[in-house]
Point group: C2
Chain length 390, copies 2
């Protein structure tokens, strides 16, 4: 298993050596804009699929629901993981068929289950009795999979306990699902966002396999294993290349679960992040005091207009400016709003050119995932992040 | 100075004893909706103005830019603090005149300064050399006030160091502003959001007064003091009633600054929070494990669809349900998205009825400020928070 700098060729720079860079260099943008190279999404889909083999890719629409992205994935034969009625509507609108879509949110409004049923959706996630009761009442006979909490995460972003249930509860819920007329066909889990290397999946897969085999021993005919997301994007730290990564995960699954008839994988970030770049600008560079060591650099985009994942400085994006050949110095970075929480990087200042000034263009690399949809409607009167696909 | 439970009569309940409750009780809402009683905004404006006397209220538009709210405030003679071109456009569109609007964001895009100048705006905030240079170049001769950092906050939400500069820098910036053709007319600061009692302003006002008098001694003719926001709303903890609060602050200002020709106050939260209630519903109540002490309650609204201020559990909203007469038990609360960060209250669980279940209506009290605008465009395919003014 070779660990390579999968994104090494997308290290910060400000030129036009990729198709994305060439497009951005040739265009002006009057407001912060996410530019997505849809061909790059296709390349990534093919790379992941080559490793995943017969497993179905259910693209996690929430990562980026741009219609051009969905349309291309439909064309490639992708399936979809939808979090809401809104996302299902987009997928169906771009030509996906209902059997290609799973309603993967474990928290569904009764009316949305009804609408999904009427639209032909037959596969639902659940992690609680009340959710199963809603599905059984509204869409009797549906296939359901039970989501487990897996605590043994090695991800950069381990998940909270918001989703899933423990192993005992899962088996009890499968019994219950059957008793109220549903088909409990399998299980799902999530290894945690941005799990950088395949071997980091081992503890979570081990934990899930125990519950899986216990459920089978208890008489459940399990035919569906949903391994969720966690597929990484390059944010500056080495990640394994997508085909190797996916193949290694699938091999680990086979070793623990045998030949499961249906395997689902839900890449979101790992599918689209590297296909996008945000173009924005510097609004102000300042020092608060003569004694301040660091400059403050304020961008035209912030936590409430697209960069929500900088919360807690969780994801450190890579920035490129036309002055990157000049000497660099550490900066605190912040967004444009009159909100004191709209600070991007302060605990670990970011190196930026000492010559940087208001009006300079800034590229934020590999921002195709979890940016446009997190953008607020109009916080502080700033319009939402614009999206351009090409 | 009497400290009263200003919001005691808006303590959680689920009836129709106020105009807002009556409206909500009489209507159905198919998605999470913020309902604003514009008369209640007027009552609050009058109460604050009664205490502030001749100081100008510059409503902080970012707290809630609903057109009906702005229109009513224009009618009442309010002035406005705008964070962006978008907010200035709303104010002008509802009939405010340019002299009633200050461009209070210290981080302004060059093109937006230009647009504001052409729209007749003549008062700008700044806290850095480069910002002054932009204003001097684009809108020469403008009035500017310098924003200071005041570290001595006793607010519930002390601000970060994102805005303002220290005292030495402020005086240097005033000299610089004059040298490049601007009129440095005054100073501003912000005591911190949700400063619950007037006496909590004392340390900040003391710190500001030192710089103010030093600037005067250095020859600056200061005519404008902008005391910013910080005016509180009732979120369950006692706050001082608005007229008493405002009068006490103004008295503290007079004692430290004398008779300043022009005083600006920028209530945002303190103007609109109590005029709004969010109507949403329970989507799911569950337990993750037989060993779990707390239930999880999932609402149809979360951190990315309006409740951004629950980040770090900073603001604890008050919830009301039709089952509040039933026995209560502690709950972890979360939003509807497939995002593990979309958790509202976990460190300090919230008491909710043991009988609560999917489909139940939930009211979230005093949510008129910093909710609708924080809402994301479509995260997870959920539409933004709907706003109804009446």
């Amino acid at each position: 298993m070779t660990v390579v700098l999968a994104g090494a060729d997308s290290a910060p720079r400000f030129d036009s050596s990729t198709r994305l860079d060439a497009y951005v260099a040739a265009h002006e943008f009057d407001r912060p804009t996410l530019v997505i190279d849809v061909d790059r999404v296709e390349t990534q889909y093919r790379a992941l699929k080559a490793g995943l083999g017969r497993a179905d890719i259910h693209y996690a629409v929430k990562a980026n629901p741009a219609r051009d992205v969905i349309a291309r994935l439909v064309k490639l034969g992708s399936h979809f993981d939808a979090a809401s009625r809104g996302e299902i509507e987009i997928c169906l609108g771009e030509g996906a068929t209902p059997d290609q879509i799973s309603f993967g949110n474990t928290i569904k409004r009764r009316q949305d289950i009804e609408w999904a049923r009427d639209s032909g959706i037959t596969l639902f996630a659940a992690d609680a009795e009340e959710e199963l009761e809603k599905i059984a009442e509204i869409a009797p006979g549906s296939d359901v999979y039970i989501r487990l909490i897996v605590e043994a995460s090695e991800a950069d972003w381990p998940l909270t306990r918001k989703f899933g249930c423990d192993g005992d509860t899962a088996i009890r819920l499968m019994d219950y699902a059957k008793s109220i007329g549903l088909k409990p066909v399998g299980m799902s889990f999530h290894v945690g966002s941005q799990t950088r290397r395949a071997e980091m999946w081992a503890p979570a897969l081990d934990a899930l396999a125990k519950v899986w085999h216990a459920a089978k021993a208890a008489g459940h005919d399990l035919t569906l294993l949903n391994i969720g997301g966690g597929f990484p994007a390059f944010y500056g730290e080495a990640i394994q290349a997508p085909t190797d990564y996916a193949a290694a995960v699938i091999e680990m699954v086979r070793a623990r679960f045998g030949d499961v008839p249906r395997i689902m994988a839900e890449p979101g970030r790992g599918m689209v992040a590297e296909a996008g770049v945000i173009v924005c600008e510097v609004l102000l560079v300042s020092r608060k005091s003569d004694r301040d060591v660091h400059r403050w650099v304020y961008l035209s985009i912030g936590r409430f207009s697209g960069l929500a994942e900088t919360e807690g400085e969780a994801i450190r994006y890579q920035f490129a400016t036309p002055r990157d050949a000049d000497p660099m110095g550490p900066c605190i970075m912040a967004g444009p709003s009159c909100d004191s929480a709209d600070v991007l990087y302060e605990k670990r200042p970011m190196p930026l050119p000492l010559t940087l000034k208001a009006g300079d263009r800034v590229l934020i690399r590999n921002t195709g995932a979890y940016t446009s949809t997190y953008s607020s409607v109009c916080f502080n009167g700033f319009p939402p992040l614009q999206v351009v696909c090409f």
